[in-house]
Symmetry: C2
Subunit: 304 residues, 2 copies
Amino acid sequence: MNQHNLSTHLLNAFVTLAHCHQFNLAAQRCHLSQPAFSQAIRRLEQELGVRLFDRNTRSVLLTPEGELFLPVAQQVLDSLKGAVENLRNHAERRVGKVAIAALPSIAAEWLPPILVEYRERYPGIAVQLFDVILQSTLALVREGIVDFAVNADTNLKDEFDVRPLFEDRFYLVCRPDHSLAERRGILLQDLAGQRYIHSIKTASLWRQLYPYLRQVPLRDSGFEVGYLSTIAGLIASGAGISVVAGISLFNFTRAGLKAVPVRDDGLRYQIIAIKRRGRTLSIAAQTLEDLLAATQPEALSAQF
Amino acid sequence: MNQHNLSTHLLNAFVTLAHCHQFNLAAQRCHLSQPAFSQAIRRLEQELGVRLFDRNTRSVLLTPEGELFLPVAQQVLDSLKGAVENLRNHAERRVGKVAIAALPSIAAEWLPPILVEYRERYPGIAVQLFDVILQSTLALVREGIVDFAVNADTNLKDEFDVRPLFEDRFYLVCRPDHSLAERRGILLQDLAGQRYIHSIKTASLWRQLYPYLRQVPLRDSGFEVGYLSTIAGLIASGAGISVVAGISLFNFTRAGLKAVPVRDDGLRYQIIAIKRRGRTLSIAAQTLEDLLAATQPEALSAQF
DNA sequence: GTCAATTACGTTCTCCGTAAGGATG
DNA sequence: CATCCTTACGGAGAACGTAATTGAC
């Protein structure tokens, strides 16, 4: 059925000749010798089974059938040219769109400067950022609404492809006048006897932290709160101390509190990019992911 | 700039693979060996500068860029396929349209059976017939409204391309009981002394006939009328005789009158098809013109 | 006679198929 | 190890350029 092979070269030759009514000139414009051009037209006519031009040595005019074909050829060439150009622009990262999801804590501190740099490098690529809770990031990835999500490592099924971006740890947060405030690092045992402010909100990382924390004989501060900003306020007011994930630290350092790395083995976790299994990222998204992976969170660790 | 060459083969390979997610199967559907197919995809990707498929040995999936390109490729292939099919249908005379202009006398007697036969042979081709006076046929051709016109030969400038269809002559028209009615042919001199009914309407042919007719000593019938049907009535009523073009004879034979060929040399004229100079006819129109040229007016001459 | 398109022909390069190689589950 | 895609390579055919031919005014 469709054994016929039409190439853009042939169509272009046709359109060119239809416009300039001269084999000589048209051949020149197509960067072909005149005989080669002549053959091209001949081949096209043979392929289509229709004479497209009526030509003597003096005039080259479209046949009625040629005029029938011209707009189609024109449109096809335009379509292809536009599509190819668009594709090239995507490949060159001149246009595009990338959508990502991230936990609010990641979206608050680590991501912004990277996204800004990305936008500066590729101004033609639009960036969409969903700052939502963990479950929502997974849903957004699953449904293909975002290209990938940036999360703290959690027990993900094999539903997703995972790429580690950087390693984070937990931090003791206390007032600057606290006895541990000047330490370069602590172990959880060092917190024995401290009044601890519990969080109920950081569910995913809480699950990792809690098994270790429960082995430490803490004093009860009497507080269990939902928001990290609340914890920050309580700590600043002398209600006690707490241990939080590195990615949330901005809530506390901004409040003038001190953060001390927790050095226990096993209390580390990966910040990861997750995407749909087997699917590859668009060029724009892949570029962003690469940039994320290449950007260690110097800002976080530099403070300590 | 557009040195890129995309062929329908490549696009088709792309679309096929996008649908069946298997090189093996897609190659088969494209009637290619698998390696050849693989190369085709590779060439296309190279041409576009973008990876279109992500492929392991287990899965073949479009990249986001591939999905961007798919609808375009699809549409381009459809466009071309439709256009080619349409062109082939035109070439095979399965579809089309032809418009012609003809003098009313030609449109009344000679053309109808030919047009009917044409329509029977090519039911998909629509026929439009303008039965108008000479000047109008020329205008219709000039403006490209009709493909060609069928006229009696007249001094046409080189504005048109002319093709003779058949030769016609003049006829004496008289009552069956007229003394010349049974002759197989006459010369104009034979009309000496006859009462002649003049026509003012057949301008173009009148110009050819008159120089000969004026040399014959006719009796004046006292009538000069515009319509051939009027002349027929007058002749039938015994008012006289007249000489008319063969293509108009139906006006008289239908009225029961006799027609006798005028055998003078020089009193012949061509029925011609005229078309715009240098332009070629559509396949449908060309086919009709050929059919016209191949159909001698046997009906006319057979009567005598 | 001149200008323009076509045909002739040798070369180059594309594109295909067979066969061997590599990756993945 | 079985499956499927890729690489390697040799041959057939396409497509180009140079040169000679035909055709129209």
